[in-house]
Structures are given as structure tokens and as C-alpha cells.
């Protein structure tokens, strides 16, 4: 079998001592940033982009894969012990997980999250290895018109489906596309403002580091002080027999929800975790425990978010379409190495891709054996004074942005886009559409130009934009996505009582914070983005 032998070759590459070392570094780093609210895998990968330019691509991607999966793991620890989700995809975990921890079952909650993540991650990665080549086979037959249509769909879906406000989503997308336009890539200088340094375009690394690292650090610094919380003390995670019995089915069901949603453009990890939670609540033999710490409510959503992480990599590797922030930044890394993402990737970079997939299996296993014993240690990380942390991030951001081209002008750009990232967070603009716009915009234009060249400049002709059946189908989906809210509104107006929105998926209370009796005015209760607005922050979140 072809897939099998390629995968085994991948394992051979990924298991060399050096690559294994990078996997361990990635996994540890990923867990650490997952644990700390506000830091996410997207920011970490962005910060490491310049560092890895000196590494071999295979090693770099093995490390990124470790960070990506590690971030998913780490998020659950903070959710359970602190009720402050480290990431938007762990918001649901906090509901039951923190209740379990408060009831003295933190060890079991952490164990079911970790083992569930391992199970889901392994199955998800296996599905990725199975489906990605099939998607590629299908994708290589696509012409430019279809490919253009699929990219339009991906951009629209991420913009319109995720996040609370479409206006904000489209504003962010517009900003991203505009940044992507800068330069003379099309043979004509656009948006260069007469500055010669802009003719080469803006380096994606600078944009990613500015938006994810600088913007986030400034945002946190803007409301640095808050009433400290107490982490619930925990020993070694473990599970009893009844916990296993109650966990394994939610793990599998969570995986089934997570993978397809992750693979869809704009699927993200929030929707499947929520669906998994609702399903477990309905199927549970102990529905009365939900809301008071039901283990199923941790096992299912945690499995779902890890499976969706694997699912996300399917369109990323097979089509070159990132559907979340971390995948977007990883895609930027591909371009940094001069590797063309897209359906050709499996053919042109086969060994790299299969080593990456193999390293996902390895990373998953490493996470399990590293994280089960180390959970109490990770919780200690939360006592780190944040000024040190963010000072370090700013330092690495600056160093990284400068080292790409060794040009001081890039630092100016870094500051400008960092300020933009800060303002976007301030006004609730999601950052994911922006970064996707920057990355996909130029490729979108490229496909459009190819399609128009083939049709002789006639967009509506037989070889034009609507010339392929797939393209037409995709445009219909795009139309549905755009018109859907309107239809929904009409429907609701017609039958106001019949449609009720599902309850909000966020944990309603943040406990553990005792109100200070004095100096209330001096405390900035800046609720963190991660627990305040999961929809609006593609940035650190769903990676």
C-alpha cells in the first residue's frame, strides 16, 4: 500500500534523534503556551518562523506540529484547574472540568482530557493520513476556476461564520487583503506609497509576528493587573475503572464531531466541542451530574478539539487552505522555505509531508507520557509574573522581525502592524480573517489571473470563472453562506416562538476571584480575551 509505505518512511525520518529532539521541544513549548492564557500556538509558531529559517524544513515542521498539538493539550489544564480557558477551544472543557476539580476530582478530569486528547489525536491523524491523499487526487484535477472558487469560499466562511459580527470579520478580511496587495508582485507597484522598500511586498513573517505577538503583548500590557486566582492543587492525574467506562464513548463521539469540522473551512474547534458537549449531555446516564462536574463533559469536548486540530491539517496539506490561525502561520512557513502549498505538495514534498504526519503520531504519544506526570508542574507556570513573559515575547518578536531581512524598515512595519493588532483586539475585530487575507490574497489573485488567461479575459465565457462544475457548486455554497442570516431572520420573523438560539456556550461565572475590598478602582478587571470572547479571537485561539 502506497500510503502505508510512505508513512513508514515518514516515521523513519521523524524518529531520527535530531527530529525527535525537535518534536520534544515543540511538544513542551506547545503545552507551555497552551497552559498560559493569551499565548497560543499561532503566536508561538509566528515567533519561531524566523528562527526556523536556519533549520531544515522537516525539523521545523516537526517542531511546529508539536507546538500545535501541545497547545491543544495545555489549554485543558488551565480550563480545569483555573476555569480560565487557555484557548477558545477549551472553553467548553472549563464548564465541567472546573466543577470536577472543585469537587476534588481534578486528577480524573486532567486524565480524561489527556487520554481523550491522545485517542482523538491519534485517530484524527490516522484519518488525516487516509483522507489527505484522496483529497489531493481530487484536487489535482481542479482547474484554476474551481481553485479560485474554493479559496473564496474558505475566506468567506472564516469571515462570516466565525466571530460575532460579520461587519468586523469583513473589515479584518479587507485589511488583510490590502496588506497582501502591497508590492510589485503583479508586475505593477501597488500600495507602495512610493517607498522603494515596499516594492518587494511585506514579509508575511513580519505581519504574523506583529499581529499575533506584538498586538497580543500590547493588549495584555494594557490591562496587566487583575485580581489573582487560585489554581486548584492537583496531584498525579489518574482514572478509576468507572471513569474509563464513562469516558471511552465520549472520546470516540468527540473525535467523530471534531475531525470533519476541523477539515471544513471555518469549522474551527469551537462548534464541535459545543456539539460534543450537548450530545454527551443528552446521551449520558447521569444527566443530573452535568453542570456539577460530569466526566463525559470533559472527555467529549477535549477529544473533539484535538480531532479538529488533526482535521484542520487535511485542507492545509492537501489544498494549501488553512482554516485556523496556527495552520495559517504554518502555511506561511511553507512559503518561507519556498515550498508551494497546494495539491502539488504531496507530490513535490512527499517525504516532508509524510514525516510531518508521522511526527503528529509521535507528538501525540510524547504529549501523553510527558503531560500526565507533569500536570502539577504546568499549573505552576501560571504563577509566572506576566511582565517578564511579555517582555520576553516583545524581545523575540523584534529580534525575529529584524532577522528576516536584516532591515530596520521591517521594525517600523512591525510597530505599525503591532499597533493595528492592538487596535483590532480593542475593537473586537477577529485577527484570523486578516492573516488569511494576507496569506491567501496573493494566491487568490494568482489563480484568478490564470483562470482569466485561459478564458482569454472573459470571466463569464465557457472557460471562465463558472466554467467548471465544482466552481459552480462552490459558488452556490458561498451564496448560501451569504444569504443565510437574511433567510434566518425572515424565518424567525415568520415564526418567532419556534426558533430559539442555543444557550451561550461560555461558562457563566468565573469563580475563584474574591473581590478586593479596597482599591477596587485600581484593579483593572480586564477579562481576558480567551474567556471573554471566543468567537472574536481567532488569534491565539483555535490553533
Amino acid at each position: 500500500m502506497d500510503v502505508w509505505s510512505s508513512l513508514m518512511d515518514g516515521f523513519a525520518t521523524a524518529l531520527t534523534p535530531m527530529n525527535l529532539l525537535y518534536a520534544v521541544i515543540g511538544v513542551l513549548l506547545g503545552t507551555a503556551v497552551g497552559v498560559l492564557p493569551g499565548l497560543g500556538p499561532a503566536m508561538t509558531v509566528a515567533l519561531l518562523l524566523p528562527v526556523t529559517q536556519v533549520l531544515e524544513p522537516t525539523s521545523a515542521f516537526i517542531m511546529f506540529a508539536g507546538i500545535y498539538y501541545g497547545g491543544m493539550y495545555g489549554g485543558s489544564t488551565t480550563s480545569i484547574l483555573l476555569n480560565t480557558p487557555g484557548e477558545s477551544s477549551s472553553v467548553i472543557t472549563a464548564i465541567e472540568g472546573n466543577k470536577m476539580a472543585k469537587a476534588g476530582r481534578a486528577a480524573q478530569a486532567l486524565a480524561t482530557a489527556a487520554i481523550g486528547s491522545f485517542v482523538a489525536g491519534t485517530i484524527g491523524t490516522a484519518l488525516l493520513a487516509m483522507f489527505a491523499p484522496i483529497v489531493v487526487q481530487f484536487a489535482v484535477s481542479l482547474g484554476s476556476p474551481s481553485y479560485f472558487a474554493i479559496m473564496v469560499l474558505a475566506l468567506l466562511a472564516v469571515t462570516a461564520v466565525l466571530g460575532s459580527s460579520r461587519l468586523r470579520g469583513f473589515s479584518a478580511l479587507g485589511l488583510g487583503l490590502a496588506i497582501g496587495l502591497v508590492g510589485a508582485g503583479s508586475g505593477q507597484a501597488r500600495l507602495t506609497f512610493g517607498i522603494p522598500l515596499l516594492t518587494d511586498g511585506i514579509d508575511i513573517v513580519v505581519v504574523a509576528v506583529a499581529i499575533f505577538a506584538l498586538g497580543e503583548a500590547l493588549w495584555v500590557a494594557a490591562h496587566l493587573r487583575r485580581t489573582p486566582l487560585h489554581a486548584i492543587p492537583v496531584g498525579q492525574p489518574w482514572m478509576g475503572k468507572s471513569d474509563w467506562k464513562r469516558s471511552w464513548k465520549p472520546w470516540l463521539r468527540g473525535t467523530a464531531f471534531g475531525f470533519p469540522f476541523g477539515a471544513l473551512p471555518a469549522g474551527g474547534a469551537e462548534i464541535p466541542t459545543f456539539l460534543s458537549y450537548v450530545t454527551e449531555k443528552r446521551l449520558s446516564k447521569h444527566p443530573e451530574e452535568f453542570g456539577h462536574g460530569a466526566i463525559e463533559g470533559v472527555a467529549g469536548p477535549e477529544a473533539a478539539n484535538n480531532a479538529s486540530a488533526a482535521g484542520t491539517l487535511t485542507p492545509m496539506l492537501a489544498l494549501g487552505l488553512p482554516t485556523n490561525a496556527t495552520a495559517a502561520v504554518m502555511l506561511a512557513a511553507f512559503t518561507g522555505y519556498g515550498i508551494q502549498p497546494g495539491p502539488q505538495l504531496f507530490a513535490s514534498q512527499g517525504p516532508l509531508v509524510w514525516a510531518l504526519i508521522a511526527s503528529l503520531f509521535i507528538g501525540n504519544f510524547l504529549l501523553l507520557i510527558i503531560n500526565l506526570p507533569l500536570a502539577p508542574l504546568w499549573a505552576k507556570l501560571l504563577q509566572l509574573p506576566r511582565p517578564y513573559l511579555y517582555a520576553g515575547i516583545l524581545f523575540f518578536a523584534t529580534l525575529g522581525a529584524y532577522s528576516v531581512n536584516l532591515q530596520a524598515f521591517d521594525l517600523v512595519l512591525l510597530l505599525v502592524f503591532g499597533a493595528l493588532g492592538f487596535m483590532m483586539r480593542r475593537f473586537g475585530l477577529p485577527v484570523l480573517p486578516l492573516i488569511l487575507g494576507v496569506i491567501l490574497g496573493p494566491r487568490l489573485e494568482d489563480q484568478l489571473r490564470k483562470a482569466l488567461k485561459l478564458s482569454g479575459g472573459d470571466p463569464l465565457g465557457p472557460n471562465g470563472l463558472f466554467g467548471e462544475p465544482i466552481a459552480v457548486v462552490v459558488y452556490i455554497i458561498v451564496a448560501i453562506i451569504l444569504v443565510w442570516p437574511l433567510l434566518f431572520k425572515l424565518y424567525r420573523r415568520a415564526r418567532p416562538a419556534a426558533v430559539s438560539m442555543p444557550a451561550t456556550s461560555m461558562p457563566a461565572t468565573r469563580s475563584g476571584a474574591s473581590e478586593p475590598q479596597e482599591a477596587g478602582g485600581a484593579v483593572s478587571h480586564g477579562s481576558h480575551r480567551a474567556d471573554g470572547n471566543p468567537g472574536g479571537d481567532g488569534g491565539d485561539g483555535d490553533g
Partner: protein, 130 residues
């Protein structure tokens, strides 16, 4: 006339509080309990939670001691908060708990107790965990 006590939820902090209560009863003065955090890290186990504060409140009320409990989070370190409170209320005694620190540990981490001992304008009573 006030006694200021720097409280942290540790054995040393408990010892300081117990001593401070005894002093306050003896001289029949107001007891000002300070428990603060810089608020710059997400988790600070030295910042007392509501139930702990409530139990101290109850304990002081039962003993009939005139008291104020403050939990300032202003980005200042604990020593500064205690010294500020002592100056503001014109305290005649500060009570703190001491814990063993090696010279190197003091060099690296600094010492809250040392700062209070050196900078306070009033007598400081330092107790150790029992």
C-alpha cells in the same frame, strides 16, 4: 492607634495574625489586616480567597476586635502595601511573619520582611511559624 498585620495564607501568615490579635486585645486597638498581591501573575496563592477572608472576619468579630481587612491589588509589592498602610493609619505596631531564607535566596528574591523591618517608622514585631 492601630496595629497593622501583613497576612498571607501560610503558616507564617497565620502565626503573625494570631500574634497580632493577641496584641490588639492587649492594647485594645484597631487591627488592620493587609493581604495584597501585585496582580501581575494569573495565579497567586498568597492572595487570600473570599472564604479565608470571611473566616478571619468571623474570628475577629467573635473576639470583639475593631478591625479592617484590606486586599489591595495595585501593582505594588507586599512590603510597600504594609508600609503604606502603617503610615496612613499612623500605626504603632506592625506584625509580620518571618520565614527562613538563605542569603542567596534573599539576594535573588528579595525579602519582604527585611524591607518592612528596615523601612518602617514604628516598631515591628516579627514572629515565626509555630
Amino acid at each position: 492607634m492601630t496595629i497593622v498585620v501583613g497576612y498571607v495564607p501560610t503558616p507564617e501568615g497565620e502565626a503573625a495574625l494570631t500574634q497580632a490579635i493577641a496584641e490588639a486585645r492587649k492594647s485594645n486597638t484597631t487591627l488592620l489586616v493587609i493581604n495584597s498581591s501585585k496582580g501581575d501573575s494569573l495565579v497567586d496563592n498568597r492572595y487570600a480567597l473570599e472564604p479565608e477572608i470571611q473566616s478571619i472576619e468571623d474570628r475577629l468579630a467573635i473576639q470583639g476586635i475593631d478591625h479592617v481587612i484590606k486586599q489591595p491589588v495595585r501593582g505594588h509589592d507586599a512590603a510597600a502595601e504594609v508600609l503604606d498602610a502603617a503610615e496612613e493609619h499612623n500605626a504603632d505596631l506592625i506584625v509580620i511573619g518571618l520565614r527562613r531564607r538563605t542569603p542567596v535566596g534573599k539576594l535573588i528574591m528579595g525579602s519582604t520582611s527585611q524591607r518592612i523591618l528596615l523601612e518602617a517608622d514604628c516598631p515591628v514585631l516579627a514572629v515565626k511559624a509555630g
